[in-house]
């Protein structure tokens, strides 16, 4: 099937709270999907179920033709899924270059590496690392310790790592969260460049910032109260009256009791 990701009637319940209820979604190869919604809408949980962080209480998740509902995040990563985190997660004891290297090592480029090989000796991987550092403008920081980076650079490094994995599906969790306006614009530019360079890369992102959504997505799903409410192009969703209702609260969305 040409659908890369299929989410089938998925629900997630935590201790009496229905975070996600009966959501079905498909993502086609090459599509750029943004999942938006107010806080508590369930976007992070849905995202987590695609990434492997959470296991649905009901329903199945399919990725690249396989039922991945029970797969761990690392197994999904090996199948071509890569993701970023809302608060960038990096290897703090390593340099920027080494972080990207670790990401690339596990991608298709590093497939022939054995556990006892010297970890720094894979030339093919270094080439990819240098390319990625160049394209994300991280080259000047390449030998800096990842722990010493400021917020914006951390997110960029995470992005570089995700790209270095050479994924089939890229999941971006709030790619501009916590960034200054300047940094956010820079990040969006990076992403646009990426989107253009790798036209068959499928992207799913969650976002709060409509600018980001408009810049990157060709399809938007609006969630509220654990369900999907609106699904369409960014323009369609923006114009939909339900969107205004949900965000501006003229009538309260289905309440999630905590």
């Amino acid at each position: 099937m040409s659908d890369l990701v299929v989410v089938d009637a998925v629900s997630k319940e935590y201790a009496g709270v229905n975070a996600v209820t009966d959501v079905s979604l498909t993502v086609a190869k090459g599509e750029r999907l943004a999942v938006i919604g107010p806080n508590g809408a369930g976007k992070s949980t849905l995202f987590g179920m695609i990434a492997g962080e959470h296991r649905p209480t009901k329903g199945r998740v399919w990725f690249a033709g396989s039922d991945v509902t029970a797969w761990t995040p690392s197994k999904r990563a090996s199948a071509g899924l890569s993701r970023t985190f809302q608060v960038a997660r990096l290897f703090t004891s390593m340099t920027v270059r080494e972080n990207v290297y670790m990401a690339a090592l596990n991608g298709p480029g590093g497939a022939r590496i054995r556990p006892w090989d010297n970890w720094l000796r894979h030339k093919g991987v270094w080439q990819l690392v240098d390319e990625v550092l160049e394209s994300t403008s991280l080259s000047p920081l390449a030998d800096a310790s990842a722990a010493s980076l400021a917020q914006g650079a951390r997110k960029t490094l995470e992005m570089a790592m995700a790209v270095a994995q050479q994924p089939v599906l890229l999941l971006l969790d709030e790619p501009t969260a916590g960034m200054s306006h300047e940094d956010a614009l820079g990040a969006v530019q990076q992403l646009k460049k990426l989107v253009q360079e790798q036209s068959d890369l499928t992207i799913v992102l969650t976002a709060h910032d409509m600018e980001v959504v408009f810049a990157l997505a060709d399809r938007v799903v609006l969630m509220a109260g654990g369900r999907t409410v609106v699904d369409g192009t960014p323009a369609e969703v923006a114009a939909d009256p339900r969107t205004r209702e949900i965000y501006l609260g003229t009538s309260a969305p289905k309440e999630v009791s905590l």
Binding site: A77, S78, L90, A103, P115, W119, L141, S145
Partner: protein, 356 residues
Amino acid sequence: MTTPVAGARATLTSWHLIPLFVVVALVIPQVTGGSYLFTWTAVAIWVLFAMGTNVVFGWTGLLSFGQVAFFGIGGYTVAVLHDRLPDLPGPVLLLAALLLASTVAAVFAVGALRTSGPEFAVLTLVLAQVLWLLTYRVRALRGDEGFTGLSGVPFGGDRVLRTDQELWYYTIAVVGIGCFALWRLHRSTLGASMRAVRDDPWRAAALGYKVRRTQIVAFSVGGGLSAVAGGLMVHHQGVASPDLLGFAISGEVLVACLIGGLRIFWGPAMGAIVLVWSHDLFSGTEIDTGLFVGVLLLLIVLVLPTGLGGLPAAVRRRRRPARPPKGLSAPPPGVPDDAGSLARTPVNALDVEDRR
């Protein structure tokens, strides 16, 4: 230890270790004598024990309070085998200890790593206690009576290594091989994945690294090397008794790692030297080594988390003015540069606190 960038200046390879160990092996007996050589042998054993333990603790970030379990398995394996088959050469005994302990460690880890953090630490403690109890309950292990007559190491043919000098060479050779293997492991992709799992298990998993499997392997390696150290110890002391599984030993090996510095390759070795010699120093006095070790550990935890090995770096940082964090644009205040700090080590790779 930040490894150098590929293709950069010539670096210390594992092969450079061999002359280093040969020099140490030859010099120490010349420079010291008599009872000091005996203590240096104990130091060498603890170097192996601490370096092995650090694979679990410093490299992979797992706090294991039961390393003494494997130390004891090693000691008892050598003792029991030697008792049943007195002609088996020493290296074969140690190999058996290594294999048995690594297997037990792996099996234990598969189950125990379903928990994390304090629960995991206590489970490792429980393992050590269970084994201690077993030495009293299983007749073949002889309880307090233990095994004696172990100071002779059979070495093929009719040769038995018995003098302090011979035992020193035997011990340092084994420890040297162990350290060589550890150096290679540290430089390997597997070693790098252990560090990745320690730094951020979520990130490692999201990149496709098998977190649980890496932890199990690390635990198994640490257990195996600790067992070899235990095997050497029973030759050193000549006896194997339940004291080999004493509670305090677990704490002391962790202290050795911390004193020297978790993130420094030779840190645990330095810590072992400090620990064993301070035992020696305090053995004549009224002061319990526990008090000294406890106070030292307290100081490290409060003041110098990177351990004594981190002292040069800490001093350097004091001297330089604080640098602003690096970023692509003018950044807000960033993350402090203390990548080696003890405080950054998660309790267990899977213990992640959501601060949201």
